[in-house]
Amino acid sequence: MLIITRRPGERIVLGDDIVLTVMEISGQTARIGIAAPRELPVYREEIWEAVKAENQAAASVDPDALPPVPPPVAGD
């Protein structure tokens, strides 16, 4: 892993269109600003892991496991 030391206000540029800015460091917390193309997904790692687990759980569903659902109420 590449390890770079940065101070608040300093940036890291990835490729041509991604810029990370160290906004603020306070105790154990670093605030990072991310400028990236809108279509590029950016996740906090723990959310990425959680979404991955949900996607994989959904991908293992047996069609017969889905119960019938009453039709939506008219005008709803």
Binding site: P41, V51, Q56, V61, D62, P67
Partner: protein, 140 residues
């Protein structure tokens, strides 16, 4: 020319070329980019997002507004986009959940799994809680 998938779940399926949905960034943790939506019956509460690349990859999706009256998505999607949530099954109906935290937004044949910043957008929201409450109210 339509393509066919030999789905491990649904058997042979004909897919019209214009019904392909491309997820340029895929879905987190799944190894496929091109899908199609399959409804098993008209008005079915669930549709299946089926991979066109992997005959064994399919996820049940639901329209979140059919199950969650207060569902909101932030940032708001583009107008006209279809919004779905993935469904996690269980042996007990009370334990079925939907992922409101990471809905799928599909527009013009392009899909994206987004992170929903709306308050209360749970990763595992009980899917049938509102329907059960409504049924209990009706019975009372």
């Amino acid at each position: 020319m339509s393509t066919t998938i030999d789905s491990t779940r649904f058997g042979r399926i004909e897919v019209a070329p214009d019904s392909a949905i491309v997820f340029p960034h895929g879905l987190v943790g799944l190894d496929s980019r091109t899908f199609t939506l399959i409804a098993r019956a008209q008005d079915d509460a669930f549709v299946w997002l089926h991979s066109l690349e992997d005959p064994a990859l399919a996820l049940p999706l639901a329209d979140p507004r059919r199950f969650f009256s207060t569902f909101a998505l932030e940032p708001a999607p583009t107008e006209g986009a279809a919004i779905y949530v993935t469904v996690r099954a269980s042996e007990r109906i009370e334990e079925f959940t939907a992922n409101l935290r990471a809905p799928l937004v599909i527009a013009d044949g392009v899909g994206q799994q987004v992170i929903n910043e709306a308050p209360g957008a749970e990763l595992r929201a009980p899917l049938f809680a509102e329907l059960a409450a409504a049924a209990a109210e009706q019975a009372a």
